[in-house]
């Protein structure tokens, strides 16, 4: 574990969607064993950045490297097979499959590693009661828990999660925060997009702030959390309003 070295690195990444130029040279480093927050206003390009990493959009310029190897030209399944788990916005679950089947999709042909499954279900005990229910029948929070569980049911090298707290009740958000803190303790490398600053401050090690398709600030989360003027400048908010 070489703490500090980047596992995922974006250098000067541009992305066009149709004739729209969305990313204007994104530079981002996700360091090993750390939780990196990607913050920014709506429309800043956060989700596009994640989707570009996952190969849904091809970068029109720039380099994306994972563990030193260029992945910008790979297809989505090949990127996933490198050990990158992606939880899309709005709960990437399969509504008509059961909770069990959703999780099985992310395991190999050998099925569940029982010990790992127990660990994951310990993070989100609500899923145990819903084991054989269709995922579509779960509450919003449970769907998000299922999506995250599916991403970590097998050991992954990088976990990318897009706005897990969107539309969730505060009590559920707290559960997610606890889960991410426990995940962090296992030294999983995580890239997390968030609008909820309370969540970001609670779990983030590093932070990058996006605006208008660029990274406008990168540094330690603790520094941003302590600097209200900087928050106001970068995000147009202050911590006090997001307690």
């Amino acid at each position: 574990m070489s703490d500090g070295a980047a596992l995922l690195e974006l250098a000067g990444v541009h992305t066009h969607i149709g004739r729209y130029h969305i990313l204007h040279g994104v530079d981002l480093a996700v360091r090993r064993g750390r939780l990196t927050m990607l913050l920014g206003r709506n429309g800043a390009g956060k989700t596009t950045t994640l989707r570009t990493i996952m190969g849904l959009w091809r970068p029109s310029a720039g380099e994306i490297s994972f563990d030193g190897a260029a992945i910008g030209a790979l297809a989505t399944p090949d990127i996933a097979r490198l050990g990158i788990a992606y939880v899309p916005e709005s709960m990437g679950i399969f509504a008509q499959l059961t909770v069990r089947e959703n999780l099985l999709l992310a395991t190999g042909p050998q099925g569940f590693d029982e010990a790992r499954l127990e660990e994951v279900l310990a993070l989100f005990p609500a899923l145990r009661q819903k084991w054989h229910s269709a995922a579509g029948s779960l509450s919003g929070g449970q769907k998000q828990m299922l999506a995250i569980s599916r991403a970590i049911i097998e050991p992954r090298r990088l976990l990318i999660v897009d706005e897990p707290t969107k539309g969730l009740a505060p009590a559920v958000i707290q559960q997610l925060i606890d889960a991410f803190l426990r995940l962090k303790s296992t030294e999983t490398t995580i890239l997390l997009v968030e609008q909820n600053f309370h969540m970001a401050r609670s779990v983030g090690d590093d932070v990058a702030v996006m605006d208008d398709g660029r990274i406008v600030h990168a540094g330690a989360m603790a520094d941003l959390a302590a600097d209200e003027a900087l928050q106001q400048h970068l995000l147009g908010l202050s911590l006090a309003s997001h307690q």
Partner: protein, 360 residues
């Protein structure tokens, strides 16, 4: 959390039970009726209906693997049905009336169907769904034209009439004495061959859709990108699903050829057969396999018995104004259409979907 060990019934059904008591009852009734059809409903016509039901169960279920489980709307399914039928027909007409020719023809039909399905899949599954449907429609039309033009091989519009192996000939006698009043001739042997093959193919498809492979297909149906983000090459899976469905349809076609001892473009390639398959899947309930089986029963029965029933009704209403004309047997398609509209309106999830919804 893996649950108790499955019982023999669960193993046979791959853990995919129909789901509700009424549905269990309906399917058991269907299975028993088909199993005992020659004895329960003696007569050439009812035996033909039962055999057609068996064949269309396989055909509709295989279409459901594509449409219901994978979300691929293809209009080329009759083409694969036709390939199996023509394979057997051509082999029996041109080679000899033996089992070797049957196997060779069926194998060739299946191989051709799989090859064409893989080709269509790899070439066109990357395009948007609606364009894929159009491509399949174009390929199916091309196949239909080809079958009518290659007269030397396919018999053109007239099709091919051929002899089947001796045991399947109506003149063949399995036993000298009738059993339960039914003479065990080649027709009965043909029926049980079709019944056994259909049952085996249906259980095989049930196994496949409930396997890890089938789960990936359902994941692709719901959201392709999410499935790719889990590391699944969706084009490969969709192509495999298409090839599997094509192989099943070709086998159903081979059975059809053995049943009719004839094959022509109208029987296995026409667009009206494609519409029938669509109706069976939609009426029965997409993505359930059991649904298309029930849909096949409803549609085949309607095709065979709606006209005579209407003739009787029309006759009994003689003297009334307008009504006899409304129920004239020639108008049977009108009533079938009305039935379809009502089913789609009241049971958008099909018969099986509605029953499961009521129970769940």
């Amino acid at each position: 959390m893996s649950g108790a060990a499955p019982g023999p019934l669960d193993r046979l059904l791959s853990g995919d039970r129909p789901g509700t008591r009424l549905l269990n009852l309906l399917l058991l009734l269907l299975l028993a009726s088909l199993l005992l059809a020659p004895f329960l409903f003696p007569g050439t016509r009812s035996l033909a209906v039962a055999a057609r039901i068996c064949i269309f169960i396989v055909l509709a279920a295989s279409y459901d693997v594509m449409l219901g489980y994978t979300g691929i709307a293809s209009f080329a399914h009759t083409m694969f049905f036709g390939m199996g039928a023509y394979g057997v027909a051509i082999a029996l007409a041109k080679l000899s009336a033996g089992w070797g020719a049957v196997l060779l023809g069926a194998a060739a039909g299946v191989a051709l169907a799989v090859a064409v399905a893989v080709l269509i899949g790899l070439l066109s599954l990357r395009v948007r769904a609606v364009f894929f449907s159009m491509i399949t429609l174009a390929v199916a039309s091309f196949a239909l034209i080809l079958a009518t033009q290659l007269r030397d091989l396919t018999g053109g519009e007239d099709g091919l009439t051929f002899s089947v192996p001796d045991v399947l000939q109506p003149s063949f006698r399995l036993l000298a004495e009738p059993v339960l009043g039914v003479r065990l001739d080649g027709r009965i042997v043909t029926y049980y061959l079709i019944f056994a093959a259909a049952l085996a193919l249906f259980l095989l498809m049930l196994r496949i859709v409930n396997s890890p492979f089938g789960r990936v297909l359902q994941a692709i149906r719901e959201n392709e990108f999410r499935a790719e983000a889990l590391g699944y090459r969706t084009v490969v899976y969709r192509t495999l699903a298409g090839a599997l469905a094509a192989a099943m349809a070709a086998l159903a076609g081979a059975l059809m050829a053995l049943l009719l001892r004839y094959n022509g473009p109208d029987v296995t390639l026409s667009f009206s057969v494609m519409v029938d398959i669509l109706l069976m899947v939609v009426i029965g309930g997409m993505g359930t396999l059991y649904g298309p089986a029930l849909g096949a029963v409803v549609l085949v029965m309607a095709e065979y018995y709606l006209q005579p029933a209407m003739a009787a009704l029309s006759g009994s209403l003689a003297g009334w104004p307008l009504l006899p004309a409304l129920f004239d047997p020639d108008r049977w398609l009108l009533w079938l259409g009305l039935l379809f509209v009502l089913v789609v309106y009241f049971f958008p999830a099909g018969i099986v979907g509605k029953l499961r919804e009521r129970a769940g």
